[in-house]
Amino acid sequence: MKTEPNVIEVENLTVAFGDFKAVDGISFYVKRGEIFGFLGANGAGKTTTIRCICGLLNPTSGTVLVDGKDVSSHTAVLKPRIGYMSQKFTLYPDLTVRENLLFAGSLYGLRRKDIKPRAEELMRFIGLSQHLNEPVKLLSGGVKQMVALAATLLHNPDLIFLDEPTAGTSPITRADFWRLIRTLAQNGKTVFVTTHYMDEAEYCGRIVLMERGRIIATGTPEELKKQFFPVPPVELVFTQPRQASVREDLQRLNLGTAENFSGGLRVRVTDMEGFKAYAQTREGVFTYRPVAPTLEDVFLKAVSGRNAQ
């Protein structure tokens, strides 16, 4: 991975709408062939950043380079290489899948006779060939998203931007989607994906965490977990009926923050020695074991850490 060149380089990118800074001086890079995850709550500035990289929005300040070329002055060269699946639904519901794909192809200057085999190949790739002649409005939500992905891939772009592709779809569709994303990356495509499902972020090669226009963490999922959890979180199971005082004690003694989960508490321990000492004083009330942190833990800790500042 490390030997691959940077395909996207973002330097000090700022996008302001009036006084509001949607993106506030962020910098990051994306390597060729990687699955790059862009994480954050709604309104964190993910979509704005993508729109800048795709050349749909001019930055207020800062630079966005794709293959070393400035995006705002090379849009005509870069656009054919980019496949952008917007968060908004960009298919025409009254047209069939085939008609949508043909139109999407014509936008990229593809001829009908060239699109037809490509469209069929793509529909086989996403496993939905049987829907080719159905109007899009009759398809289920998940299938619609899949078709939107096909329309995005039609012109064979090498840079693929997926803005919350799995929002509101079933777990099965999400799994299918990620299977496809991995296949795309294996074929050398660079996939830039935003999501607010933290479990999905585990599939990404590298991740950027955004909050209110700023990057609050960046790295591989493993790096982030190590960085934010030198001490692993602890799952605490009550052996007696649940005791509310435990949670209060943890907070009072400043040992960590706890959340309820079935049968106990999940504690992001800040002071392991202190916690162990406390656990001894409550012997027989609960047992505990350290667990591997999830990206959700990372995100919550990163956000709460910033808010505490």
Binding site: A76, T90, Y92, D94, E99, G105, A151
Partner: protein
């Protein structure tokens, strides 16, 4: 500036498929103009009929008798039974007559002999347009009676309205349908094209267009040219119904009709584009179109002659692309065309089109970027 035929073809195919598949759209585009044509052709004639006319003259006046008989026979008038001594103003105020023709003191006969006696006509002018027509009819009848009785009328006493010349029966259908070809088509193009662009914005599909390597010109042409074709079809449809069903005379050339139709369709689409740059939903596009259409139609000469509009507002008529095309269609279809007038109108229309298109292009480009 780049326009790829493949992309334009893609847009044409898509727009037509969407229209043909949507019954509401088909209805709006083709049936509404048809219904308007039929309505204006059959029902909404502003032709004057059954006007209550009173003729005040000496009881034994033969001319007055002839005027009454001829007026009654024309079908335009009903004669109110009144006496010579009735107060003409009161007759009108009390709605017992809409028009009162008053013989001079010496009587119709003497006045006509002298050739220049004032024959007074009072008309209820609440409806100015109707009053003008009534005035025309009465003058016509008096002239006919005078001619029949062998009086030589001094020129200038009877003046016929200029507009009646090419529409001998004052047949409003012939007068309205050419104007309707402009009005209906303009409405449909403005609303449908404006909404089609707003729809791409509203549903988010515009994002896909902008993200693709499509140029601004391709998106603009792709979203308007299909409607240009539709506009020409509507013009043809109304003309066909007008000639085949309502029997309006078609004295001009089809190609002049096409030139005029092309020019005003272009101006309508430019206005639609301009509206679409300031709105973001279909509903707003609809409102924007209405905001333009209401004054646009009133100041186009479709219903009210431009000459009757006060100078304060008349200059707006000259900025209105509809006005030129209405005049041109009426001229080409009913008269066969006054070439000089036609081309001078086309000249101004082209000027307006160029300004509108440049504005539309600039606005569209800046909102897309």
């Amino acid at each position: 500036m780049r326009v790829r035929p493949v992309t334009l073809k893609g847009f044409f195919k898509k727009e037509f498929t969407q229209i043909l598949r949507d019954p509401k759209m088909l209805f709006a585009i083709f049936f509404i103009p048809l219904i308007q044509t039929v309505m204006f052709g059959l029902a909404l004639t502003s032709e004057v009929k059954n006007v209550e006319l009173a003729v005040l003259a000496k009881p034994n006046s033969r001319v007055a008798r002839d005027i009454r008989a001829r007026a009654q026979a024309s079908g335009w008038f009903k004669i109110s039974p009144v006496t010579q001594t009735a107060d003409p103003t009161l007759l009108i105020e009390s709605h017992r007559a809409e028009a009162v023709l008053i013989a001079p003191k010496e009587g119709f006969e003497k006045a006509l002999e002298r050739g220049n006696a004032p024959i007074q006509l009072l008309v209820n002018a609440t409806n100015a347009q109707r009053a003008q027509q009534v005035n025309g009819y009465v003058q016509q009848i008096v002239a006919q009676v005078a001619a029949e009785r062998g009086y030589a009328l001094s020129p200038g006493l009877i003046q016929l309205d200029q507009r009646i010349l090419f529409n001998h029966n004052l047949d409003t259908t012939s007068y309205m349908i050419p104007a309707l070809m402009v009005m209906s088509t303009f409405i449909v193009l403005l609303v449908v094209c404006g909404m089609a662009i707003a729809k791409e914005k509203e549903t988010g599909t515009m994002e896909k267009l902008i993200a693709s390597p499509c140029t601004v010109e391709e998106i603009m042409l792709g979203k308007t040219l299909p409607y240009f074709v539709i506009g020409l079809v509507i013009v043809g449809l109304i003309l066909f119904v007008g000639v085949a069903w309502f029997g309006i005379p078609f004295r001009g050339s089809l190609w002049l009709v096409a030139v005029n139709a092309g020019l005003f369709a272009l101006s309508a689409l430019a206005v639609a584009l301009i509206i679409s740059t300031v709105v973001s939903t279909q509903q707003q596009a609809m409102m924007g179109s209405m905001l333009y259409l209401l004054p646009g139609i009133l100041l186009s000469g479709v219903f009210f002659p431009v000459a009757n509009i006060p100078p304060l507002f008349r200059w707006m008529c000259y900025l209105n692309p509809m006005m030129y095309s209405v005049v041109n269609f009426r001229a080409v279809i009913l008269k066969g065309g006054d070439t000089a007038l036609f081309w001078s109108n086309c000249f101004w229309l082209t000027g307006i089109c160029v300004v509108l298109c440049v504005l539309a292009y600039k606005n569209f480009k800046s909102t897309l970027n």
